[in-house]
Amino acid sequence: MRRFAPMLLTAFALFAAGCEKKSQPAPSGEGGQAAQPAAAGGAPADSNTILLGQVGSLTGAQATFGVSTRNGIELAIKQANDAGGVKGKKIAVRVYDNQSKPEEAAQATTRLITQDKVVIILGDVASSNSLAMAEKAQSAGVPMITPASTNPSVTEKGEYIFRICFIDPFQGFVMAKFAREHLKAEQVAILQDNKSAYSIGLTDVFQGKFTELGGKITTLESYSQGDTDFRAQLTAIKKTKPQAIYVPGYYSDVGIIARQARELGLMVPLMGGDGWDSEKLFELAGNALDGSYFSNHYSPENPEPHVQKFIAQYKAAYGSVPDALAALGYDAARVAIAAIERARDLSGPAIRDAIAQTQDFQGVAGTISLDKNRNAVKSAAILKVGDGKAQFVTTINP
């Protein structure tokens, strides 16, 4: 199968090249204007529009992540435009799909930079994809904000890469603490996705912190993203009689893992991270995840007025309750817009500096202050799964 991938990529590239001419004019949200030729490199083709770029997993294994993020971003942009735009200009966003694949993400980022000449790139949710994007954005000097990639190495790519969510060590830390202090678990098994930087990152920190707090990791099993039969690993885990299983994977795999665990008679709670957050999780898992816990960026049950206001607006626009990724997409776009407003001009360095100054920014998924490593410092919510939804349990601070 692998060796067909290059062929396929070539075909897609040809196809994309063919479509280029058609998709070029009129970014969304902009009326028919006489297109002015781009005067100098870096300026958008249309001088009355500030163009943002987003690369997201609109299709593929993590499709709900990209779609939720896009919805959040669109909502933020619409509100900014309704309020008069930024620097007297309208804002628009150009969105490319990366099919949940890093190589597509890198390609799309290059397109946003070289052809669309966007001023800020909003990254993907999956860390593996954002890593591929960060490489390109950093070397081109275009600021990039990732709404939800929690792997530490993403922002380590350089001073143009920011994130408005917490990082993996924190999620692993929070869950280890929760398992020891709230669940009083002494023996926990881990089932990690060894194809995802995200899952490996969470595992490492969880393992370290849990052992440090006096717990014992009974076994560390692994699967590869996209597997659908986890019975062998679960059987091996069952033998070690853990009190809980830490599964820091994505919802598409976790739902199936939960069902198969229950089927094999493993009834202990599962624990996970924000990769679980999707309505699809409950569809895939049925009630197999009842009584399981995961750490997340936000809870729609948070009673804060600005959170509830966002939820109402999102519901009006898209007809569903926003998940954490929608909230983070919304926050990321608002941080980006605020930075553009503050920046002295639209050049990469100016906007970069403006983003770096973000302090105490009130987002729906927590208050955002960027530290010197360009990571947001904020608290995590622990959610408990039950009755086909996630209920707010507690907040754990850094």
Binding site: A232, K239, Q260, L284
Partner: protein, 309 residues
């Protein structure tokens, strides 16, 4: 010991599916000497047909035995029709062209189906994996140890799958070696031009072979979806490749060989994942393939036929 037994059960359950999908490869290859790479994707389409039928029947969580039968029949009939169309319009026009041409078309159809089904327009399902409804209500048929926390579990669907697979294999073996149609199939396989001269309706035999193979794929796909509780447009690529390996291990073109190859592959994978790591799964599975081919180039049950030049 209990763990070994559980791995054995899981491995046989996984291998059964490979075996069933491999039967389709083997039949088509046996008659046409064509590796139908679209086979796995026909399976995937069959699963979606079963998925839609289950929802149309309104039994989203579990079905009556009749409901299950209807789901299987609709999916198998739908796939048989699709197999017919694919053969008629994609392979038949190329039958007298070099064999590589048809192989490339097969790959093309495979990708057209698996990526086409990721589109989200009209009846197409979109790319996200879906939960497959529990059309066979899971029940434990056999447990060892504490019933609350059993060491070994044997599920009803695992037994049903295995019996169905063995039944289909026996039926196929009968069809190929004991019926007029089977004799025609073997004649076409031997030399389709001469078979045509002898008054055998070659096109019809080949069409029927494709239809049977595709219907088998749909059946196998449904069992797979019941086992792994999910369905996604790319599932066919993965299962198809594994089943192809199983068919080659057993000796492609050989019906019991496909069965044994599938079960062996399922067991090898299960033990590798259970006792080593999932990263090793594909490496060991394909290493096993190479080993078999080195020792017995025709596969475990195959004969190396000297080709007349």
């Amino acid at each position: 010991m209990a763990q070994l037994l559980q791995h054995l059960i899981n491995g046989i359950a996984a291998g059964t599916i490979y075996a069933l999908v491999a039967l389709g490869y083997t039949m088509v290859y046996g008659v046409l000497k064509l590796i139908n790479f679209a086979h796995g994707d026909v399976m995937m389409v069959g699963v979606y047909m079963g998925y839609s039928t289950a929802f149309l029947l309104g039994r989203q969580t579990q079905s009556t035995p009749w409901g299950v039968l209807v789901i299987f029949l609709v999916a198998m009939a739908g796939c048989a029709l699709m197999g017919f169309l694919i053969e008629r319009f994609a392979y038949r026009p190329l039958r007298d062209k070099p064999r590589l041409t048809a192989l490339i078309t097969a790959i093309g159809i495979s990708f057209a189906l698996s990526y086409g089904f990721q589109l989200d327009i009209g009846f197409l399902p979109g790319s996200a994996p879906r939960a497959f409804p529990q059309i066979i209500k899971p029940a434990q048929w056999f447990t060892v140890g504490d019933p609350e926390f059993p060491d070994v579990v044997l599920w009803n669907w695992q037994v049903i799958s295995l019996m169905l697979a063995v039944g289909l294999m026996v039926g196929l073996q009968y069809l190929v070696y004991r019926t007029r149609f089977g004799r025609a199939m073997r004649a076409v396989s031997f030399d389709h031009r001469v078979a045509a001269l002898m008054g055998i309706p070659t096109d019809r035999v080949i069409s029927l072979t494709f239809m049977i193979g595709s219907a088998l794929a749909a059946g196998a796909g449904l069992l797979y979806a019941i086992k792994d509780t999910s369905v996604s447009p790319l599932m066919g690529l993965y299962v198809g490749l594994k089943a192809f390996v199983a068919a080659v291990i057993g000796g492609i073109g050989n019906v019991p060989g496909a069965m044994v190859g599938g079960l062996l592959l399922g067991l090898v994978e299960e033990f590798v994942v259970g006792y080593a790591a999932s990263t090793w799964r594909d490496a060991v599975a394909f290493g096993f393939l190479i080993l078999v081919l080195l020792v017995r180039p025709g596969g475990l049950f195959g004969r190396v036929a000297a080709e007349k030049v």
